[in-house]
Point group: C2
Chain length 201, copies 2
């Protein structure tokens, strides 16, 4: 699940298992509460706090690994999306995949903000957003998406919807089953070319 950097001595099986458990638990915990403590993460992973520090030098180091791992996974999922063909359909597919990523990672961004270097974060963000941007740009040039708003704002708006839905689900105000559909419908409504400005009576 979690690859170790090459060049390090091979870990024992239980150690590798624990590292995986820690990273996965940390992802879950940080997604829910960016300020969660190391103790809580250790408990959630089913290991002692000391074991955690045995594998990760510091909170920052753990967050860095978690973010990198989440980023790799997100990158893999999003790059598997077919973004060709009709921009509407492409965006729909992209939104579905983005929903999964957003819901799984949630508050991770905020945790990363406090613990990681800004430029690293910037690159990570760019990497993920660029895909959506290019679909959006294509849809705009093909006349399928509205162009009367800055492209960056459209991206921000869609992200806001994703984030809002994820929060609502975490709070129990929305079921996880309905969320992706609602996000997609809403996002497309946001991006679609508006019907003629209804000049007549």
């Amino acid at each position: 699940m979690v690859e170790l950097p090459a060049g390090t001595p091979p870990r024992r099986a239980d150690a590798r298992r624990n590292i995986s458990a820690i990273v996965e638990a940390a992802t879950r915990c940080l997604a829910e509460d960016p300020g969660v403590s190391m103790s809580a993460i250790a408990t959630a992973a089913g290991v002692g706090r000391m074991t955690l520090y045995g594998h990760f030098e510091s909170r920052s180091a753990l967050v860095a690994v978690v973010v990198e791992h989440a980023l790799d996974r997100a990158e893999a999922e999003l790059s598997a999306v077919d973004v060709t063909g009709d921009p509407y359909d492409a965006m729909t597919r992209l939104l579905d995949a983005s929903w999964t990523v957003t819901f799984r990672n949630g508050g991770l961004v905020q945790a990363a903000d406090q613990a990681l270097s800004p430029d690293l974060l910037e690159r990570a963000h760019t990497q993920l957003v660029d895909r959506a941007k290019s679909v959006l740009r294509r849809g705009r040039s093909e006349g399928r998406f509205r162009k009367d708003m800055p492209l960056d704002w459209q991206v921000t708006a869609v992200q806001s919807l994703l984030h809002g839905a994820a929060t609502a689900v975490h709070q129990g105000a929305l079921t996880a089953a309905r969320a992706p559909g609602l996000v997609t419908t809403s996002a497309l409504a946001l991006l679609a070319v508006p019907p003629a400005p209804s000049s007549g009576p």
Copy 2:
């Protein structure tokens, strides 16, 4: 600016001035960073930390007053909005006012979440959201807003847009001048009845 509860002995002029300064500084600080320290708030208000504790028993007490104050102000601003007439226009006016409120208070909600009782928060939230809900409900029944999404989700979605725009402005990714227009356009696009699902070729 900040009213004192009746029945307490009248404060001296400088005390009242300081209390106002504290509440206003706290509003600003908490809106930017919900986890800001009491020291930082005191400094921002131009008073010593001890003066702050002289007027507010605890962090919770301060947050409570700040929230109450912000709530009163928001209530006043939103209740002044004309929500009659065409639902589109009513919603536009409401969104403009909501933008101001959201931008000014920002992270206050998060600070309140950690410091105040859930039921108080619930009531506060309900109070503010109900107005939008009723406009939305009317617009839906009049066929001006789409009904194929839960009303609660539409509210959540619009709030997400407001919040996302506020964050973007705070980060400098969007100018405060453009934000309200973009939020309004986007929110209305979200709520509007979609153009016929284009069945024919």
